[in-house]
């Protein structure tokens, strides 16, 4: 748990800004160019580039320049965190159902005792 928290904590700085969270959400639906992002978020190219740089430094976003267009995509860090979160979610879900089962058994027993 500790390591996982540290990894996520260091993402939080990059995620502390609403525009940057918006950029990640947008890139979750597919890659986009810097000018696409500037259009979506009604910001200047320079402003968007700064945000993208922060996300890039945190490995949350990767960019690749083809010709004059720089395309942004979700980065490896985001994918690993996502995988870790899915695995953690799955384990939580199973544990939750284990506890539901115990709860229902307790409740049923209680009802039989009361009856």
């Amino acid at each position: 748990m500790v390591q996982y928290s540290i990894r996520l904590d260091s993402s939080f700085a990059a995620l502390s800004d609403a525009t940057r969270r918006g950029i990640l959400e947008r890139l979750g639906r597919g890659s986009a160019s810097i000018s696409d992002l500037a259009g979506s978020f009604e910001m200047t190219l320079t402003g968007i580039k700064k945000h993208v740089r922060v996300l890039e430094d945190a490995r949350l976003v990767t960019t690749a320049k083809v010709g004059r267009v720089r395309t942004c995509s979700l980065g490896p860090r985001r994918l690993e965190d996502e995988q870790a979160w899915i695995a953690k979610y799955q384990r939580m879900l199973e544990e939750r159902y284990d506890h539901l089962e115990r709860f229902l058994r307790r409740t049923q027993r209680q009802e039989r005792t009361d009856a």
Binding site: Y4, L24, W85, L100
Partner: protein, 163 residues
């Protein structure tokens, strides 16, 4: 309860039909109405949802569009979970979004079907969908991210430390 029935009840089926979803099927020795209540009555939810940890049910508006927010007080920290109900059809079906405060903006859709298997038996089928997996797979297939298996191996090691 006989031992064999107990085993049958405990046996859970967990499959991943695709990378996009996790499916869990469980049979409980309890009437469907009680199972439904266990998911929708705040007093009952608080008794199991936190997996043995203290759980504060901050909101539980069981209606389409209604908010739910639970805060789990685990030994290693406090975790908030929340979402909105997409479908509420008592006592058969619940559908809701699920987000963890620690990974904001990443929405999972949970669909639960409650099937009556007799007076005192209920099957719950839980399918959780991850909306962005398709995009992720598309990126991976395009070869943008190399060394994925190494990443997964690292992830396995990481997860082993989380238990």
């Amino acid at each position: 309860m006989s031992a064999s029935l107990k085993d049958a009840t405990r046996k859970a089926t967990l499959t991943t039909p695709s990378d996009r979803e996790i499916r869990i099927e469980r049979v409980f020795d309890a009437p469907r109405d009680l199972v439904w209540q266990a998911f929708t009555d705040p007093k009952l939810v608080a008794q199991w949802w936190g997996r043995g940890n203290k759980l504060v049910v901050e909101r539980l508006e069981v209606e389409r569009g209604g908010h739910w927010r639970f805060v789990e007080h685990a030994p290693e920290g406090v975790h908030g979970f929340e979402g909105r109900f997409r479908e509420v059809s008592p006592p058969e079906r619940l559908s809701m979004t699920f987000e963890w405060d620690g990974f904001p903006g990443y929405v999972i859709i949970e669909n639960m079907d409650f099937e009556e298997l007799g007076k005192d038996r209920t099957r719950v089928v839980n399918v959780s969908q991850f909306y962005s997996t398709e995009e992720r797979d598309g990126m991976l297939a395009s070869g943008m991210e190399g060394g994925l298996n190494q990443s997964y191996a690292a992830l396995d090691r990481l997860l082993a430390t989380l238990v």
